[in-house]
């Protein structure tokens, strides 16, 4: 098989100037990368190309839990076009990596712990050659029993997924197969239960969801002359990757230079390392650039998923609807490697009460080690599973009390000043009742139009759609509501910061700002916002966004709804320092000519230095002339605390975000098919820096919640722990036909502690969307439905 005949150079990220995009904060400024993305010229990580490059391929385990008896690479090595075949024996340095626990092998050694774990590695001159060579590697396994749930994991004689754990949670967990346990005890739930007139309990199951970002894990590693490596990859956090990659390559961090390649979506699935270390090792080993691109099948094995969960809840209320107490136990399956399971446990427990006032609670959340696929970060991060359960409980309680479910929620809704079960006071607006009021007050989508008009149904609008499964017989409508609470940013005492380097200079007589951060633009629109902030703070029109790389300090992760808050805050902060420096230069230069230079309230606006009264003192270009001002500063949000390991008390979270949904569904009760007609959302965004992007985030998050409600689930065989549906043929995500109209209302109730008052947006809409759809299906069918996703067999009693 031949070499590439392509002649174009490697597509590397370039400066995205913004000459054609204007606008400050609060405006629906268009994306600066929009033109590149619609013309096909935007270089995603899988588009990287280098003359003379090789292709990397992973061989993954075909079993979930086994001892590796032997690996034979002889046949693969002798194939034409194969440059390297590596196993764990060839690893240059550290054999394990991990974000919170270094428990994940670069290539399996001794044991494999889940289906699809990387075992061996090939580099060849054509991807097909690499795949064929990988298939020639012979691995002999001695299979072990699989641990797949709480019972098998915590049995006294259970095999340990990781023997000899010595991580920071291993000392306090009740069993070594429990990654982390977080109880929260506040008040006396047992005593308070005596005041309850009604008590409802429920057991809920949340399926394993996949981020299913469209751009596959991919990138290019180029060996450099100094023995290091230049790495172009799609990730959510360059610096976190760097910290994990360098020790595995045996290189100092400065010899691993990372540049963000175009990212095709993330949703948490790119927080963990995927192909970064493997491509780098192949590049260092072969001395050639190595490109690696997962196919979709591999992508399902190549990143962590949302934790599937079992949740047990008990709520009590007085007959007038006041909640008396809540008890819950949440079991999250973390799979074979820890990833961020411990933090997910912290989130699930601390947000398990939902946006409600309940003084007496007894909460326990645990995260398991099993031989299921590893689970970690995904949009909503532990709060999603809890919201699904507590919102089902609210409906159950309302039904038992004979109350309107929205009124019950509003009666118990938290507000500013409410104390969380962790003891933390909610010290910024918490418009829970108001968000519910907004979605409830929306006009309903028209009733089944084809009936009203006496016309034939447009089958495309019915459950089953183009499959023509019904013409409306047996189709019933239901309406459901839900609301949720999500923390924003990294919690539990994590030193969460972001860095922004801002440069201001004069080019062709005009003041121009350059924003350089390591922020991952994963599609959320950070690049748009960052330029808007710089334009607003520095009063310039021209802003260049420098490609994200490790030549500037960490921006933290593009996750947890934190990036606009954190890197936006860092840019605002650094711009403020730049502004002061510009003014200082101006004072020294022109202060003697005009007394207003002594004014403390000088502003930069429209490329000029102006007084708060609007008098122009000078142009920025005249102040700076040939001089450039450059500032690189770290910026932090207010500190948080770890939760107490016994009581769960502590000011653990930075900020909270709230969203509510109303779902209207139609269900074909004969075939068990669901069509979501409308999914309205109301959310408090604090301050909409870019309304167009805000609505895009809310609609996208809502759709992911819809997906898990009715179709999305990675199915793992309980007997073998093998993944059954790693493809877009078998793992379904919503199409445009499955997704309804999503009207959005947003409030802008500023958080006084946040830059511009912003509130993280991306995650909250994923929470309440799922339970709202479930509630609507329950309303339509009268069924209990305690598991996501709702499959036809659950609706037709053929389970």
């Amino acid at each position: 098989m031949a070499q590439n005949t392509r002649t174009t150079p490697v597509g590397t990220p370039t400066d995205v100037t913004q000459n054609h995009v204007k606008g400050g904060i609060g405006e629906s400024t268009l994306r600066p990368d929009g033109t590149l993305k619609v013309t096909g010229e935007f270089a995603y990580s899988s588009d990287m190309w280098h003359e003379d490059m090789l292709w990397g391929q992973i061989l993954r385990s075909t079993v979930a839990h086994a001892e590796i008896v032997s690996i034979d690479t002889t046949e693969a090595l002798v194939m034409d076009g194969v440059y390297a075949v590596l196993t764990h024996e060839d690893l240059p340095a550290a054999k394990n990596y991990g974000m919170e626990f270094q428990d994940t092998p670069v290539l399996a050694y001794g044991k494999v712990r889940h289906h699809g774990e990387p075992v061996a590695l090939v580099a060849a001159d054509h991807p097909e050659t690499a795949r064929r060579a990988a298939a020639k590697i012979k691995i002999e396994y001695r299979e072990l029993p699989v641990i797949t749930d709480e019972a098998s994991a915590t049995a006294p004689d259970a095999i340990l997924v990781h023997e000899g754990r010595d991580d920071h949670h291993s000392g306090h967990v009740p069993h070594p197969n429990i990654v982390h346990r977080q109880p929260i005890i506040r008040g006396d739930a047992t005593e308070a239960a005596k005041r309850a007139d009604v008590i409802v309990t429920g057991e809920y199951t949340f399926g394993m969801q996949d981020q299913a970002f469209l751009g596959p894990e991919s990138g290019l590693a180029v060996p450099s002359e100094d023995g290091g490596v230049d790495l172009y990859v799609a990730t959510q956090w360059l610096h976190s990757d760097l910290k994990q990659i360098a020790p595995c390559l045996g290189l100092p961090e400065e010899k691993v230079r990372m540049t963000m390649a175009g990212v095709g979506g993330a949703f948490g699935g790119r927080e963990d390392i995927s192909m970064q270390i493997l491509a780098s090792i192949l590049a260092l080993r072969t001395g050639k650039p190595v490109k690696m691109v997962y196919n979709r099948y591999e992508s399902f094995f190549g990143h962590v998923h949302r934790h599937p969960a079992k949740l047990w809840y008990e709520h009590g209320a007085t007959k007038d609807g006041k909640l008396t107490h809540m008890k819950c136990k949440i079991v999250l399956d973390g799979g074979a490697y820890a990833s961020s399971t411990a933090s997910v446990v912290g989130n699930a427990s601390s947000l398990s009460v939902g946006p409600y006032v309940i003084e007496d609670v007894e909460i326990e959340a645990i995260g398991l080690y099993t031989n299921n696929p590893p689970c970690g970060a995904m949009r909503g991060f532990g709060a999603v599973q809890a919201c699904f359960a507590y919102e089902a409980q609210m409906d159950k309680l309302a039904a038992k009390l004979g109350m309107d479910p929205v009124e019950l929620r509003q009666l118990n809704a938290m507000e500013q000043g409410t104390i969380m079960p962790t003891g933390q006071v909610v010290d910024s607006p918490a418009p829970v009742a108001e968000l519910l009021r907004i979605v409830k007050a929306r006009p309903m989508p028209p009733e089944q139009q084809w009936l009203a008009a006496g016309e034939d149904a447009d089958v495309r609008a019915l459950p089953g759609g183009l499959s023509n499964t019904t013409h409306g017989e047996g189709v019933v409508r239901g309406v459901g509501y839900a609301v949720g609470i999500k923390n924003v940013g990294f919690s539990e005492g994590f030193d969460d910061y972001s860095t922004a380097k801002i440069r201001m200079e004069v080019i062709n007589g005009e003041a121009v700002a350059t924003v350089h951060t390591a922020m991952a633009e994963v599609g959320q629109g950070g690049v748009t916002i960052h330029a808007q902030i710089a334009r607003t703070e520095l009063g310039v029109q021209q802003v260049t966004i420098h490609p994200a790389d490790t030549q500037v300090g960490s921006a933290g992760s593009t996750s947890a709804g934190r990036q606009t808050y954190m890197t936006g805050g860092a840019i605002k902060n650094s711009c403020g320092i730049v502004r002061e420096k510009v003014l200082e230069i101006g004072r020294q230069k022109f202060g003697s000519y005009h007394p207003a230079w002594a004014n403390a309230e000088l502003l930069l606006e429209g490329g000029k230095v102006v007084t708060d009264g609007g008098d122009v003192l000078a142009t920025i270009a005249d102040v700076l002339e040939g001089q450039a001002v450059e500032v690189e500063e770290e910026w932090r949000h207010r500190p948080t605390q770890a939760f107490d390991l016994v009581t769960g008390q502590g000011d653990g979270h930075v900020q909270y975000a709230f969203a509510a949904h109303r779902a209207v569904v139609e269900v074909d009760t004969e075939l068990g098919l669901v069509k979501v007609i409308e999914l309205a959302c109301a959310q408090d965004v604090g301050k909409a820096l870019n309304p167009l992007s805000v609505i895009g985030q809310i609609q996208g998050g809502t759709t992911q919640g819809l997906g898990v409600a009715v179709m999305e689930e990675i199915i793992v065989d309980p007997k073998t722990a093998k993944v059954r549906n790693p493809s877009f043929t078998d793992y379904l995500i919503p199409t445009i036909l499955d997704t309804p109209t999503i009207p959005v209302d947003y409030l802008e109730l500023a958080d006084p502690n946040a830059p511009y008052g912003v509130r993280g947006i991306g995650e909250a809409p994923t929470l309440s969307s799922t339970p709202a759809v479930l509630a609507a299906i329950r309303a339509a069918t009268g069924l209990e439905l305690n598991k996501t996703p709702v499959r036809p067999e659950a609706l037709t009693g053929t389970l």
């Binding site: 098989m1 031949a2 005949t5 392509r6 002649t7 370039t14 100037t17 000459n19 054609h20 268009l30 994306r31 929009g34 590149l36 619609v38 013309t39 096909g40 010229e41 995603y44 899988s46 588009d47 991807p127 097909e128 970002f213 469209l214 751009g215 596959p216 175009g262 990212v263 095709g264 979506g265 993330a266 949703f267 691109v293 196919n295 979709r296 447009d458 495309r460 609008a461 183009l466 994963v522 599609g523 959320q524 629109g525 167009l692 609505i695 895009g696 609609q699 996208g700 998050g701 809502t702 759709t703 493809s727 877009f728 043929t729 995500i733 199409t735 445009i736 036909l737 997704t739 109209t741």
Partner: protein, 198 residues
């Protein structure tokens, strides 16, 4: 094997193509046209949609040898393709793009900067995707643009149900599709206004 075909109006030749290679691979890795995206490579997501003799296809499912002597339009050629269509009204076959002579004379227009978008001429559907906020991560965008452009060619005034049906083979994970619908409606409205103006 050698494959000769026309891409975006320009004759192209790919040498040493392995028989199992897809059109998508040839476009991306041999032609230097990575605009068609590789999200599932099994015909499920539509990210690699191109037009083959005018018909939208998943280029990942087309063997490279099948395109011998045929015409392919990718997202990279969409603007020029749409412009030609407007200028030669009535040609809706999708195969009436640039002539061979015109293609050979092709050169980049002065003042265009592909990195900044300055001076780049876009098709109505491309512009509408930007304006409506239908681009987030953008990985699904090329396939959606090719599919939507083809639908608007057939059906200049689509209903929402028409749009949903036409784009049901294209997955998007970021937007929730609402803004994609907005974009297609916007492009249709603009084209209609443009038609009236003519």
């Amino acid at each position: 094997m050698r494959v000769n075909f026309t891409v975006n109006g320009r004759p192209q030749e790919a040498d040493d193509v392995w028989e199992g290679e897809s059109l998508l691979y040839v476009l991306r890795e041999r032609m230097g046209l990575p605009g068609s995206k590789n999200a599932c490579e099994q015909g499920e997501c539509g990210s690699c949609t191109v037009r083959l003799d005018g018909v939208p296809v998943c280029s990942c499912l087309v063997a490279a040898g099948q395109v011998e002597g045929r015409e392919v339009v990718t997202v990279e050629g969409l603007a020029e393709f749409a412009k030609d269509r407007t200028e030669h009204a009535g040609c809706a076959s999708g195969t009436c793009g640039t002539s061979l002579d015109a293609a050979k004379r092709w050169e980049a227009k002065p003042g265009q900067d592909s990195q900044t978008g300055e001076g780049v001429e876009l098709s109505p559907i491309q512009q509408a995707f930007i304006d409506a906020g239908a681009v987030q991560c953008g990985f699904c965008t090329p396939g959606l643009l090719v599919a939507a452009d083809e639908m608007l060619e057939r059906n200049p005034s689509p209903t929402d149900a028409d749009i949903r049906e036409a784009l049901s083979g294209n997955l998007c994970r970021c937007t929730g599709y609402e803004k994609i619908l907005d974009a297609v409606r916007l492009a249709a409205a603009r084209q209609e206004r443009q038609g009236e103006a003519v």
